[in-house]
């Protein structure tokens, strides 16, 4: 049996699977290497250079995300040279980036700012003129692009190509005018974009963000709570995090956005579609039923108390059973409701009313 290949990482020998990158090996072994352009779902780009490591015998530093482990490599992820390099790199990024996190109120953390602070990157290298064009007129309802905050790591465009495969956005322009754009600078609404919002999910700086929290003017003094739940649309069962302004809607709580779980932790791998990520306004819609209704003798529906509605319902259903037998009743349960609720409906039909006439929209 051949021995599993090893590298030396930060002085310790660690095994790796053929094909793994140095970043994969490091993360699997709990060694922190910072990244901005990396996403485990995407092919390595090696674009942001924040993950540079030193490999013995190599003249230049190498990006850990795009360098495959080879048996016998001796790798350093932290030393004076790497630190000096990283500080310079982050300082350069900051010359082309707003110094404060203006969009923090939307709950989108800026990984670049956090990293610059964590590594104590110099902040006095001056400011470059902002030349990247945004699409302020884009009338798409969901996705906002803030060109100034963009660092051109291309996670969004690569996600759009490699995962969603619709290639609606692309790197456009040259040099300092390079930006993220669409064909002919069309609104996303008029492109192949399916508005999955993956571009928002992968963006490390919040340059891509949801329009909804902006519209709601979610304020920083209302910290957002996150609730992990299961999407209520199709049968894929994506896990998602409802971001809730708990003080919103008069204390009822207001969903202000939906974010993805960490890739690799749930079976949707952090991916969501347009409905899962954006279609939650129905929760807060003014058409929601808020009171029990009972139809009066005049044929009109009227608001009533729970007590009354439950009484009328129970008597009505039992009346039908008396007149037509238990099988004169039909119970339509719902594949939109929870398992527990479906369990209760079939139990109600079978135990309380004595019929097996219970089904749900599975057939339709």
């Amino acid at each position: 049996m051949s021995e599993q290949p090893r590298i030396t990482l930060g002085g310790s020998a660690v095994v790796f699977e053929p094909g793994e990158t140095l970043l994969d090996v490091a993360r699997r072994n709990g060694v922190e290497i910072p990244t901005l352009c990396h996403d485990p779902r995407l092919k390595p780009a090696g674009a942001c250079r924040t993950c540079l490591v030193e490999i013995e015998g190599w003249q230049r530093l190498a990006p850990a995300c795009a360098t495959r482990a080879q048996a016998g490599m001796v790798v350093a992820s932290e030393n004076e040279r790497i630190d000096r390099h990283r500080k310079s790199l982050l300082a350069l990024y900051m010359t082309d980036h707003p110094q404060t996190d203006e969009r923090a109120e939307t709950g989108t953390p800026n990984q670049l700012l956090a990293m610059a602070e964590a590594f104590a990157a110099p902040s006095d290298w001056g400011r470059l003129p902002q030349k990247r064009a945004g699409r302020p007129e884009d009338r798409n309802p969901y996705i906002h692009y803030e060109a100034e905050t963009c660092i051109l790591c291309a996670r969004c465009t690569r996600y759009c190509d490699e995962i969603e495969s619709v290639s609606a956005i692309t790197l456009a322009g040259r040099g300092s005018e390079t930006t993220i754009s669409t064909a002919d600078e069309l609104s996303l609404l008029d492109t192949t974009c399916e508005m999955c919002g993956g571009c928002i999910d992968v963006c490390p700086t919040g340059a891509m963000s949801e329009k909804m929290p902006l519209a709601l003017e979610a304020r920083p003094d209302r910290a957002l709570g996150k609730v992990r739940t299961t999407c209520n649309y199709c049968g894929v069962g994506c896990q998602l995090d409802l971001n809730v302004d708990r003080a919103g809607e008069g204390g009822r709580g207001r969903i202000v956005k939906v974010t993805s779980p960490e890739p690799g932790t749930t079976s949707n791998d952090g991916n969501l579609c347009v409905k899962g990520r954006f279609a939650y306004e129905f929760v807060h819609h003014g058409d929601r039923l808020t009171k029990p209704l009972v139809r009066g003798k005049d044929g009109e529906l009227r608001e009533t108390s729970w007590e009354d509605a439950l009484q009328v319902a129970a008597e009505g259903l039992m009346g039908v059973r008396e007149r037509h037998g238990a099988d004169g009743l039909g119970f339509v349960s719902s594949s939109r409701c929870t398992v527990e609720e479906n369990y209760l409906v079939q139990k109600l039909a079978r135990v309380v009313f004595g019929t097996n006439n219970v089904h749900q929209c599975a057939a339709t």
């Binding site: 974009c193 204390g251 954006f278 306004e281 929601r288 039923l289 009505g316 339509v332 006439n357």
Partner: protein, 551 residues
């Protein structure tokens, strides 16, 4: 699904039939896209040139309703060319002889005549499926919403069994569930034939177990399925309890149902919005949406996952589980549960398939790399099942079922010259009570439309964007005509989402002979231009139409 969603990216041959995956199951489509990018072969069998065909090696554009012909002809090729997995067939199946005899007459040449898919392509697809080790079949309502839907599924299962494509990772037969908790609703026993966990109501042992558990006498005769129930309204059924479904939008041939509801005596409805069904309701309980309650949903891959309350219900609305307990109490019971966790625990106590699953485990554990637990999961130590039939078919022997082609119940004729199929789009969801209250989705897809092939449109003097009337023997609705080469000539397609143009006014309520599932995918229809009709709304973006932006 016999397999798990994350296994899809490692499949080498994907056979997608009757599933508009990128619109109806976008995240599963993403996994398929990854597989194709890695080098997998994707074959799409669908009457429409759906998005997935853009990345498919081949598109088998069969005529709607001819699936049995296509699949039996594939089986024919596999038998004829000796591509069966003999060892698997002998060890794990029964009834192959019957199928072998039946498929003998389904030659690819004759199949070409019936289905419109060339004999050469049928041979190619059959060979590639049979000879690829990791081959997965993915299907959904395009297979089941037929009067012969069960036959379609049997024909697929026969292919799986004769090639031994079962019981392994990334290899199996995968129906993609259409709704968030279709799987869970069935698991929970909201079906006329099963108690929770697929235990038959007519099995005396099961009956005895539940009689003891629930302390009442139970009925051994299966009840009516939904399709039968709706047809019985006003004849045998005079009282309905309807939770979370708009039967007057989602059931087939709704005008007949509407008439029948006039003879219904009492209807209780529990929902979150006023809908079409509300017109017939005597009592309406204001219920809650997923974000307002706790519980579990079960997804397509049998994964039980938590639903968690994030916001309070509006006004006096109550969680559905609370309402059901309150109603049971109003009917004189003493039901008492302190919450969904306790209800779930009661359910799994008598259902061996789920016996190992608990809220505590769902909260704290990661199994096979992901959160949630996939049934079967028999004990608290069981990590759950990523894929089914591991090391042998669950029922002991995989049963071949020989099926013969039966034409759809209503096919085009001189009066109704087009074949209508209905379905779902990416931007809306079923009866669209939720998605049509979402401004962004309305912007993308504002109103009802019907896809019609340019050649059929021309014959009828219809231009792109015209207001048209779609008619069948059951009723008529209006929609905007989208001239599209996505549909076959003489076929039209319309989504079911729009309450002002209810597609189910049109559809045939002929049900599948076994399941009662209605034939939403095939009926005869005709289309004509509405003179002076309203100007159509603009659909921005990526319609696959004759004029307009490319996809």
């Amino acid at each position: 699904m016999t397999n798990s969603i994350p296994e899809i990216r490692d499949v080498d041959f994907l056979f997608v039939i009757g599933s508009n995956t990128s619109e109806a199951h976008p995240i599963i489509a993403m996994e398929m896209k990854l597989a194709v990018a890695r080098g997998a072969t994707l074959v799409v069998a669908d009457p429409r040139a759906i998005w997935m065909t853009e990345i498919a090696e081949k598109h088998l554009q069969l005529k709607p309703g001819t699936d049995v012909w296509l699949l039996n002809a594939m089986a024919h090729v596999i038998v004829e060319e000796d591509l069966t997995d003999q060892a698997f067939v002998e060890a794990h199946t029964e009834g192959f002889g019957d199928v072998r005899r039946t498929v003998a007459k389904y030659t690819p040449e004759e199949a070409e005549r019936v289905t419109g898919v060339s004999a050469e392509e049928i041979r190619w697809a059959a060979r590639r499926y049979a000879t690829t080790d990791k081959a997965g079949i993915y299907y959904t309502l395009g297979i089941t919403e037929h009067s012969h839907g069960t036959d379609n599924v049997y024909a697929l299962a026969n292919l799986v069994l004769m090639t031994g494509h079962l019981g392994r990772r990334s290899t199996g037969l995968n129906p993609l569930r259409g709704q968030n908790n279709v799987q869970g609703a069935n698991d929970a026993g909201a079906t006329p034939v099963f108690y929770p966990g697929y235990q038959r109501v007519d099995d005396p042992e099961v009956q005895a177990k539940y009689e003891e558990s629930w302390g009442v006498e139970l009925r051994p005769e299966p009840g009516l399925n939904l399709n039968e129930m709706m047809k019985a309204v006003g004849k045998e059924i005079f009282g309905l309890f309807v939770m979370g479904e708009d039967v007057l939008l989602s059931e087939p041939n709704v005008l007949r149902l509407e008439k029948a509801l006039n003879a219904n005596e009492f209807l209780v409805m529990q929902d979150v919005f006023i809908n079409e069904t509300a017109r017939f309701a005597d009592v309406i309980f204001p219920a809650t949406v997923f974000a307002e309650k706790d519980g579990v949903f079960v997804n397509s891959e049998r994964r039980v996952q938590r639903v968690r309350k994030a916001v309070d219900p509006p006004g006096k609305a109550r969680a559905d589980w609370k309402i059901l307990i309150d109603l049971a109490k109003a009917c004189g019971t003493t039901w008492s549960f302190d919450g969904p966790g306790e209800i779930y625990a009661e359910m799994v106590r008598d259902a061996p398939k789920f016996a190992g699953i608990s809220y505590e485990r769902l909260e704290n554990e990661v199994n096979h790399g992901y959160t949630g637990l996939q049934w079967p999961c028999a004990t608290p130590e069981d990590p759950g099942s990523e894929y089914l039939h591991k090391g042998g078919v669950l029922r002991g022997k995989g049963l071949f079922t020989s099926v013969d082609y039966r034409p759809s119940m209503e096919l085009p004729d001189e009066e109704y010259g087009l074949l209508l199929s209905t379905g779902r789009t990416l931007y809306h969801y079923n009866s669209a009570t939720q998605t049509r209250r979402e401004p962004g989705l309305i912007a993308k897809q504002p109103e009802a439309f019907v896809e019609i092939h340019p050649s059929d449109a021309r014959k009828r003097g219809i231009e792109d964007g015209d207001r048209v009337e779609i008619r069948t023997r059951r009723g008529a609705v209006q929609a905007q005509a989208i001239l599209s080469r996505q549909v076959r000539p003489r076929c039209i397609w319309t989504p079911l989402h729009f309450s002002e143009a209810r597609a189910n006014v049109l559809t045939n309520d002929a049900g599948d002979t076994v399941t009662g599932t209605a034939e939403y995918k095939v009926c005869a229809a005709e289309v004509s231009r509405v003179e002076g009709g309203a100007e159509g709304e603009h659909f921005p973006g990526s319609f696959y139409r004759e004029s307009g932006p490319p996809r």
